[in-house]
């Protein structure tokens, strides 16, 4: 069983549309991170959220950490082809290890 469940696993939309990716768990995390991975490369950190209810914005990307620190969401406004990639959430339970979700593969069609 996956400790962190991401949904949807695949998403293909048209340029200009909005979308939301979810990362859910029954466990509490001290922090949660979102990474983006492009083909043939390793994941790259986008953001870290630490406080329950925290919202962070990175240009057209909005990240939210749930009040109970068990879930998170990534919302993209006016998606562009450059947003295409694999998005991974990862939770830190206070140790030096991260647990990753299975990823959401996003395709933005021109």
């Amino acid at each position: 069983t996956q400790l962190l469940e991401q949904s949807p696993q695949f998403l293909s939309i048209q340029e200009g549309e909005n979308l939301t990716v979810y990362c859910n768990s029954s466990s509490v995390f001290s922090s949660l991170q979102w990474y983006r991975q492009e083909p043939g490369e390793g994941p790259v950190l986008l953001v870290t959220v630490v406080t329950g209810g925290e919202v962070k914005k990175l240009k057209r990307l909005t990240f939210q950490f749930g009040d109970a620190r068990k879930d998170s969401s990534l919302h993209i406004t006016a998606a562009q082809p450059g947003d295409t990639g694999l998005y991974l959430c990862a939770g830190n339970q206070g140790a030096q290890k991260l647990v990753f979700g299975q990823g959401t593969r996003l395709t933005i069609n021109p």
Binding site: Q2, L4, Q6, Q9, S31, Q33, G40, E41, G42, P43, V44, L45, T48, L88, A90, N92, Q96, K97, L98, V99, F100, G101, Q102, G103
Partner: protein, 113 residues
């Protein structure tokens, strides 16, 4: 970009042969990790290191061993490769001390025939 290299970048091997993957960092970070990435599973931790000669198992450690004799190098060994170990392997590093961001290498694509 964090200075992390992995070698080799691609490898094809036969079932039953030993394989060693190398991760090298120039950041002097304390923590180093080995993950495998397979479709539908995201990244799964194999082993990690919290210092020279200090290592511990992750969630999918069976069939793998690691060694860290220097801060900058973390080796992953498949003692006797199996087809189920065909995967993309990523090394990551982290400074620790409350900074848990992990910086990933470019990956090694391994095919076991």
């Amino acid at each position: 970009d964090a200075g992390i290299t992995q070698s080799p970048r691609h490898k094809v091997t036969e079932t039953g042969t030993p394989v060693t993957l190398r991760c090298h960092q120039t950041e002097n970070h304390r923590y180093m990790y080995w993950y495998r990435q397979d479709p539908g599973h995201g990244l799964r931790l194999i082993h990690y290191s919290y210092g020279v000669k200090d290592t511990d198992k992750g969630e999918v450690s069976d069939g793998y061993s690691v060694s860290r004799s220097k801060t900058e190098d973390f080796l992953l060994t498949l003692e006797s490769a199996t087809s189920s170990q065909t995967s993309v392997y990523f090394c990551a590093i982290s400074p620790g001390q409350g900074q848990w961001t992990q910086y990933f290498g470019p990956g090694t694509r391994l095919l076991v025939l």
